[in-house]
Symmetry: C2
Subunit: 661 residues, 2 copies
């Protein structure tokens, strides 16, 4: 092992393994996770070539091979628990999205939720056995976020008892669904339902798209890959153009809404039932934000302990770059963020499970809050991690640009989370809608409960921003409870500011809708502050659950750093609202520096605790053993351009050129 | 043409062509640029396949082919003016770095600057005729920024009058030089010179690395490609391991330092002579920041005018996404930034040329200031553009992730500027060193001139941050001169804060070096504020040169938006220093919204003025004609995965799987 890393590990003030248990949710979970990882690791069927050395077609091919293997293994080993499937799959995929993701994550669950018993009989087992491979085709080339704008039509023909599906325009071509391009032979297609001359809005239809034996596209189906992307090289995101494609009436998913044989439309009993999936997926994305940022931090911090560069004191050996204050300032707040988001992810998962239970018993009361929370936190955490991953990459100097660092891949595989499952700005505005509504309820005298209960106090606060000196300051910058309070007040003030902005627009005779649009900047800002408060609060709450003194101490420092760093980066908000004084903001800067040098000592141990395996990091810079340079050289020599000593272009272009000049 | 774009263009309040002339530096320059672009465009030898559809080896191959063609064309058409070569090359490369970049941009210039007349005879013409293809090998696997840390050795052997070059460790292997992997047959190698038992530090040596006829690596040379990267797919960035490689004494570049045949070392007369190149390249990078951000803004703003999504008012057609305040808030400040950086780039180029003249006459007096300015502005502009490009990409929703958008490519080709030619944090600290030194000189009573002259006033200012109320506010938020002033004061205060921080560390008995490192966060912040001031100032100054009333008006709004947006994003600084009051910060937010809706009307015309050709944008979203969707579909169908209807993996893995389950 690299001696610098060894020294870092020896100097840690806490037990790394115990912290891993906390992150996994207990020692048994850690044990089981490692068992599963080992199953994959020791399985020769999952040996793979570094995708960076493959063409896109080869990457797709390798991914299909591994996915097919994985399905066999699930049967062989009887792995059926969703959590274990998830864990096994993550390790097989090495965190890369793959062609069967939508089959497993959308096609099968949609059948489970929306198919009639008869449809389950026809489709579920064939899909479970991968005879039917499905995807979920919603987004169109010209339509994403706004579902009502989708153009694909499904028109019922009572004469033949069939639906006729069409893509009436170029912009209506289905675009982006994973696995649609080459892998799937079926798609659940979202289309505007027309029957008896009326449009009944979006409904889901099971559409066969490729021949079950030859895999050739069926008549009327124009299907293919949408071409190379920023990441997602393993996935055949696809397009689908439907030209008078006829499917039997029974292929409409009819658990809720129905079309009778004569074309009579029967409405679904409730619209809330499909609500849950979205919330679940967004909650999962919060966890992904934590995981991706943790990976990036692990690589950057280990490398910063291994890399020596420049000099602080002349004549002395080059220091570890982790000793530079600027490097600490880049990485350690991100490390704190990775921990914060990990705990927020845990909270979201637990809350979702708790509320799911209520929903199954018909209690939807907590759903709006969870919906608003998951939307905002999805946006807040993905934006933060997205930027953070790039900071980590650039903190590794030139080598961060090499694919061998693993960092470019983490970024390109992660960044789509900012857009899919609800574009982030739209998500922030959804949360803002809930906040403004709650604020108005509180103002109207209603007593709010749950996470927005702080808006109850709105009436009692002086809401006009005011000079700092005029507001008595009671914040203790070393006390997390006090900082949670100050974040809460900031959120309350910014919600109020946004609500007043809407009010002012209305007074200028703007319509509700224009008033909303003209206040959108303030609304996003309010949502952001709300989410920031929630994260600081949940991190602080988590400390109460940590019994181990040494771990509690280092986690407290991390939480404090997270909170204080957030204040300096938004100091304008806190000063403007008079929540902090100028001397306090200066003190906070000094306190942050102390925390950085204190946490620097445990930085390597803190990333080790994430227990991310070298297989999934796939990074020469972030290797656990720290043997960076030998492995980078070894990796480079395997580059396909080195397959021959002389590239053919020399003979084709460069050598002939001489005679021409 | 897309009707939305047509309408946008009709509604513009100024003459797009006239603004293009201002950006090019005059109508003749615009004319000549377009002539050159047309030469490339109409030349069948430069037809190319979209690199996104090629393997890395094919991309490299295509790039070598185009470069070889280009060299022939230069001779054929007699293109020799550096500015015209640059313009022609940019259009041939479609802004992608290519394998011969270091030959043209570093190998030849280094010969010109550092070769003796005898060496010029031996090397220059063969290199000019591409018999010798060279690169510049400085960075090593373990050593980047800190040149003194480089490990490669060149030991003089007087017995044979040769230098013996060695890579003594893995970390000493030359790493990253462009064109080194496969293209070059020579490299200028930077190595520690040893002669007569003494080390004389870094010197440059011309090392043949491949056989001139067979192109096979020479004995003792281990050379190859360093493998795939985030971008730069056309370039064979390489590694070079030297194992007792002997070169004649005459291959050391000896215009300044020398080694006599007997091994006697002769020192160079001055170290300042190589100073200029670095400054020149950093100044050029400022221009690249402007160009890349302009491209990203062009794509995102045109697409935002074409794309309709969601609804503002129920029942009405989906609005252009450019009508959303949040979209304006993302893109229009970046548009203002692109203009600001364009003008800063012009200023840097002009200043460099002016000062170069002085230097040739032996006057180095302005050099330290230009050096500090180019370092800081390189970092400031590349960081800002780097983030800004990603904001543009994500503002395009899902399609921003497609390679057809052009945006991922702009990002990956641009982001290395944050690291190469001086890592950005290191650059900021170099500028800070100049600022702190200037501050101390001013404090010691010296009268500063040039751009740091504002530090002269330091003595007269109350430097302790203080409550807003205590400082009389005289800022007019609608007056650019007043805003320049407030940015200047912010910079002065932050320089002073950083200098005091160092002072306090010294008082705690820290060494100079530790005091510096422990103040690094504050130093970077001071540099950032200094650069921000310079940019606001140069943008404001530029307005004075614009005679056309309509253009002057829209440029003034852009400059105002740039300045005000910068304030809201750093409002903590301005409030903390008491430079602005809380009501002013609130007024600024309102004013920004007004400017957004005002500038939105001219947004498309403002990006049209950059006059970036579709060939170089290479974006279906950013096309001048706005025919986005048809072209996206057409592009996707050309994706290599669509070459066959059924991918072989179906027959290999998916079909056989059924029988096994």
């Amino acid at each position: 092992m690299n001696p610098d890393l060894m020294k870092e590990r020896q100097n840690a003030t806490f037990d790394v393994e115990k912290l891993t248990h906390i992150l996994d949710g207990g020692p048994e979970k850690t044990k089981r996770r490692r068992e599963i990882e080992l199953m994959v690791l020791n399985d020769p069927d999952f040996k793979e070539e570094d995708p960076n050395f493959l063409s896109r077609s080869e990457r797709y091919d390798q991914a299909v091979r591994k996915s097919a293997q994985m399905i066999l293994k699930f049967r062989e080993y009887g792995i059926a628990d969703p959590e274990e499937i998830y864990c096994y799959k993550k390790f097989v995929d090495t965190d890369r999205p793959e062609p069967l993701d939508l089959h497993l994550g959308m096609f099968l669950p949609t059948l489970l939720n929306q198919a009639t018993p008869e449809q389950m009989d026809r489709f579920f087992m064939p899909a479970w056995n991968l005879e039917i491979i499905g995807t979920y085709a919603q987004t169109e080339m010209g339509h994403g976020t706004h579902l009502r704008g989708l153009e694909t039509t499904a028109t019922y023909d009572p004469a033949t008892q069939e639906f006729v599906l069409n893509s009436p325009t170029v912009s209506s071509i289905k675009w982006w669904p994973g696995g649609l391009g080459k892998t799937s032979n079926h798609a659940i297609v979202l289309a505007q339902l027309y029957t008896q001359g009326n449009c009944h809005g979006l409904h889901a239809f099971i559409v066969p798209i490729r021949d079950m034996n030859t895999h050739v596209p069926l008549p009327g189906i124009v299907v293919g890959d949408i071409g190379p992307k920023f990441g997602f090289n393993e996935v055949d995101n696809g397009f689908l153009k439907l030209e008078n494609v006829r499917i039997p009436r029974e292929n409409m998913l009819m658990k809720y809404a129905k079309v009778e044989p004569d074309g009579t439309y029967v409405k679904p009993p409730s619209a809330k039932l499909t609500y849950g999936t979205m919330v679940f997926i967004r909650s999962m994305i919060v966890g992904e934000s934590a995981r991706s940022l943790s990976k990036a931090c692990t690589i950057a911090i280990r490398y910063s302990a291994v890399r020596h560069q420049s000099e602080i004191r002349p004549g002395e050996p080059e220091p570890q770059i982790l000793d530079y204050q600027t490097q600490q300032y880049k990485l350690i707040p991100l490390l704190a963020t990775a921990y914060a988001f990990t705990f927020v992810g845990q909270y979201m998962r637990e809350t979702y499970q708790r509320i799911s239970g209520d929903i199954n018993e018909g209690d939807f009361s907590e759903m709006p809050e969870l919906h608003a929370l998951s939307a905002g936190l999805k946006a807040f955490t993905t934006w933060t991690s997205n930027t953070g991953i790039e900071v980590c990459r650039m903190s590794c100097g030139g080598h961060g640009y090499s694919r061998s660092s693993g960092l470019p891949d983490i970024y390109v595989e992660f960044t789509p989370t900012c857009t899919y499952e609800g574009e982030n700005t739209v998500m922030m505005l959804q949360t803002a809608r809930y906040l403004v509504k709650s604020y108005r309820q509180a103002k109207a005298g209603q007593q709010l409960s749950g996470i927005v209960s702080y808006l109850n106090e709105a009436e009692h606060r002086r809401v006009q921003p005011q000079p700092v000196a005029a507001r008595p300051t009671v914040v203790d910058i070393n006390d997390l409870a006090s900082l949670v309070e100050v974040y809460k007040l900031r959120a309350a003030i910014l919600v109020e500011l946004a609500a007043k902005c809407i009010q002012q627009e209305l007074q200028r005779r703007k319509s509700q809708e224009d008033a909303w649009n003209n206040s959108a900047i303030d609304l996003v800002r309010a949502s952001d502050a709300h989410c920031h408060y929630v994260v600081v609060k949940l991190f602080t709450d988590k400390l109460g659950e940590i019994g181990d003194t040494a771990i509690h101490s280092v986690m407290s420092s991390l939480a404090l750093l997270y909170a204080l760093h957030g204040i300096t980066h938004n100091s304008g908000d806190f000063l403007q609202a008079g929540l902090l004084s100028v001397p306090q903001v200066l003190q906070i800067s000094i306190r942050i520096k102390e925390l950085l040098s204190q946490l620097r000592l445990n930085a390597v141990a803190l990333v080790d605790s994430f227990d991310l395996h070298d297989r999934n990091l796939n990074s020469v810079l972030g290797r656990y053993d720290g043997n960076v340079y030998e492995n980078m050289f070894e990796w480079a020599r395997r580059s396909p351009l080195n397959a021959t000593e002389v590239h053919e272009s020399y003979h084709k272009y460069l050598k002939p050129l001489r005679s021409k000049l």
